[in-house]
Symmetry: D2
Subunit: 351 residues, 4 copies
């Protein structure tokens, strides 16, 4: 199951250290001028080696379009986005070939398939999200230009450092001014410190990304299955290392009274809004025109340098000290993944 | 989009005050002896009027099977579960026909469809989950009997009352000994108090349900899209009033170090396990054989007796005081919904 | 796999002699005034006992709508069409319970499921198409009223009697003026003779139905998979007893030169047409605005009174003389099934 | 809609004169040793320039696997088959850019998408079936080696030349000994003559391919929608230039009596068979263990050298004389397409 969507369908392929990773986007409308520089810019936000805080793997992540575009415009045919793996160093991973790394997918892939491409995590590597980002960026660009829908996200928590977050909006410039993609300068600095500290102790950190989507008209989503919030949850839980999803008031609402968190309707300049937005822009699975606000929790990167004892596939104990290239905290690089996956969900419903 | 699943497919129909609600379950294996009393027992745990804590609507929720079963056994043909609406009192809802109730789906349904069956929420009513529970209970029974998979859930939080919850297991008897389905007696009593207090002040409460699934072998789930956790998230966010989903360590893992929450592999009596279970039984989207543990957050019931000011569909202000029958806290009744939806997810992957 | 369609989805359930047969239609647009008398009229064209030429089973085939319609209009929620089985005489079939009837699905169902509802063919009975006809008739009515699309079909061959057929159009009145639904009076009479002769010799006859659809605008269908002709083929081959499907010039084109059957474009009153219509209204899987013309071949009814020697499920020889009620030729009753399935295909692509 | 299948899913991409054509095959089982030479051999049977009878376009059609295979074995991850377009000569097509060629998809693509990649038919070119053949050949190889299922097909008709065809089997060697892939030497010679004659008069010919599949166990297929015959029909009607599909006795059965074509069950060496095989190996949509036999009709190639008058997209008359490279009869090259598409249908149901 490597496809996502029902009308605009992403099909993903590729492994971390194979020949290429990529995706086919099927169902995208014809006649749209493809903006390769925008797509590349979202890929650049995701790519490794952006700063001292990320893995040292160097991938240019240059996107190539092999079909579905003619004379600069989409034709309605499936669009194949391909990224060659240029800095693949599979040999680095030889010593991991028999090891079940803690909290990685080594054991479960082997349980399911009986075979495993162990080079850099193979199919389970987050590298494959490059194809998602390329596809989703095209959809995000379309939604922005054709529908005025603006999808932005930011890092609202890394480790124990968190910013006050009530679903407010920031521009991409504000977000990207911080290497950890937290738009509050002071919090950003604390996050950087936390990441550096984790890096120095060969450890890793998790975090939370908040996504705010504005410009979605009322009426988008499905009432029963395929609720807009359920589709977003599915999309977000498909991203590597995610452990939780909440919409609007989220888990906090469990401890509230109905009278505290009910969103009453009001009229403002002839537009129907809700006074508060604990619903996160979605009621009964369908958008109500307010900002769509959700949060996604990431666990700390499973690859750490700290010594760990685990098993190999002969079921013998082994001591593991990671040597591959990895990020102490993947959360900042996940920002464009969140945005583009949200774009794919919305595009699938709207376009 | 009223179907769920890919191999074992639930198709839901019906409205709160129409002739019937029900579901068709397609793809269920042939030759299984259907245990109607087990199915009815899960429906009884969901049905209204169970105790003073729930809505006074009286529905016997007697399930009728109209196809797919012959001489007591499933035939491989689609199974139609039907529940007639017997205590439908649509007239009660006439005065709500023009009102956009706060945090209900009145406004969004009208935005999407231009028309709305306003009787008791129509299609957006949680009543339609009766069909899901019937279908899912059959699958749950199958998984228990044929695969030794045990799915149980319990209320771990109502309002600000919460039990210590590290994903431990309880029997259904333990859970059902409490009218709020919290297996810890003292916490249960506090929850009952909280619900009664909310009821007396015509208000409502949210909560959290924890679900623990044991007996799933390693290798169940999909690696990229259709991850087991993503499918569970989709299923859970399809249930009315849910606002958040987390797996294993969940949102708490955002603030942890990798070295604190990595699940190392160990061998116990020749079985490969993980020392801790922050992964919640799923790694890389695929089960690892440990208990699958997830939590679902519910907002407080949107229908409250407290006076609220909102809009009608002429965009005029109206004052609303609920008079329909409703629950001050739906969370205890949602326990069988969570279990049966989890069964549908697992059945779809395993059976 | 009991669902058909991607956007407007029919889900079928029921067995020949169970409690009910029916279907759920999901994805149909909201706000359409449902015309129950039109739907009933298509069901009446399909129902048994219409004339001396059809089976003597008496089913009123009265349709009941249990959901998805409010105050006479569709609401966007799934529409449940139910038909109770009133003249079910399962006892008639007891003596067939162990027999593999020639060219029936007894053996294959048992091979697949290990169990079989033998009463009147169970799930393999053409009775279940009643639910398809109800659903498809709603879509057919919509296409007619909202899009000016007219779907008609007629019997162009029964046994060795055939009419000249180049895809010309007839009104439903013209078609229904004949008990065998052949609009050419003389041919119709010959067909009636042929059916009576087969009936008298306890035998059965096959035939061909031609379907002509006008009013479909250019641009409907998919270019690669999901070609309009491929979807029609799938739909038609889903109908019981069908053995062949051809579009436009069909099998005859195999023996033609390109220069004989190429459809050149011409302009007529500012509309682009093709001079001939060997394409049958579809080029590259997509409609070109010309009439869509296809033909469906039916084998003779497998149930015959003539003595046959076959096996039972102990693999012993048995002599079979049919006693159940059946049609000497099902083709005339299949006319509304063809039309409504074509409507479902088109509705799925257009609405 | 560029995907085919439900469990083993082919996703196709590419245009005739773009950078590449290809396909992603998702859901194929892990651990199978991929036989690249077999896959290449099926591609070679399809490729242009095989003989004087086919188009002079020279494509080596060398297949490259970019993912899903590790150390020679499939891993369960999606397999990306890529074929670069090496002999693309898009300039040849410049003069066709505004013309609606008779019986091509130029007009319908433009009607649907408003834009068209006119180079060699773009997405509507049969060149894209190269990706299908690569994917299907892998499945065909698997079915042969793991299940003993043998899929062969042959040309049974070209123009008015036809061989006696009752669904008998031939080996691939027998079929390929003829340049037109007709295993009867004398008929083959007549067909070659017919093709040469059409070629010399700048015209084209259609034909029929018969496919015979042996080794499918009873019980494969679905009873209602997704009948094995319906899935085969959908697959075959997805191939360029096909106009008809029939299973077993096909259209001829329309003129038969039930007593003539009913397939009685008999026991032969403890295996249940049918005495005749008018059912074509499928009853009630499910295989019965007999050979599966179907026929597919192809229209003559639409591209011909004979002068034709048609319209351009300004709706003006133009005279067209084809100059691009094309086949006078595509039917022989379609043999591996039929086989591999049949393999995809069966693999989807069985594997």
């Amino acid at each position: 199951m490597n496809s996502f969507g029902k009308h605009i369908i992403l099909t993903s392929y590729g492994e971390s250290h194979g020949k290429a990773v990529g995706a086919i986007l099927d169902g995208f409308p014809a006649g749209f001028e493809i903006d390769m520089s925008y797509i590349q810019s979202q890929l650049d936000r995701r790519k490794p080696g952006q700063s001292a805080l990320t893995t040292s793997r160097k991938e240019s992540d240059l996107i190539d379009v092999q079909s579905g575009v003619f004379e600069g415009k989409t034709t309605g045919a499936p669009i194949h986005f391909q990224l060659l793996n240029t800095d693949a160093k599979p040999k680095d991973y030889d010593k991991l070939k028999d090891i079940y790394r803690p909290s990685h997918a080594d054991f479960t892939y082997e349980a399911k398939y009986g075979i495993r491409d162990y080079r850099g995590g193979g199919r389970s590597s987050a590298r494959i999200t490059a194809g998602w980002v390329a596809s989703g960026a095209l959809v995000q660009d379309y939604l922005q230009k054709k529908q005025g829908i603006n999808i932005t996200s930011y890092v609202s928590q890394i480790g124990t450092v968190l910013m006050e977050d009530i679903g407010q909006k920031y521009t991409q410039a504000q977000v990207d001014s911080s290497p950890v993609r937290c738009p509050i300068e002071k919090t950003s600095e604390q996050m950087i410190q936390a990441v550096n500290q984790a890096k120095n102790s060969k450890d890793s950190l998790g975090g939370v990304i908040t996504c705010v989507i504005s410009g979605v008209k009322p009426g988008v989503g499905n009432p029963v299955f395929g609720k807009l919030n359920a589709l977003l949850a599915h999309a977000m839980m498909s991203i590597n290392a995610t452990k939780g999803f909440e919409i609007g008031g989220g888990f906090d609402m469990a401890s509230k009274l109905g009278s505290e968190v009910n969103d009453s309707f009001v009229k403002e300049e002839d537009i129907i809004k809700t006074k508060s937005n604990f619903s996160g822009g979605i009621q009964g699975g369908i958008s109500n025109g307010m900002d769509i606000v959700f949060r996604v929790a990431f666990k700390p990167t499973s690859t750490i340098g700290v010594e760990q004892i685990t098993l190999d596939n002969s079921h013998d104990k082994v001591t593991l000290e990671a040597s591959g290239r990895h990020d102490p905290c993947v959360v900042p690089r996940a920002v464009p993944i969140i945005e583009t996956m949200a774009a794919l969900v919305l595009g699938d419903l709207i376009i």
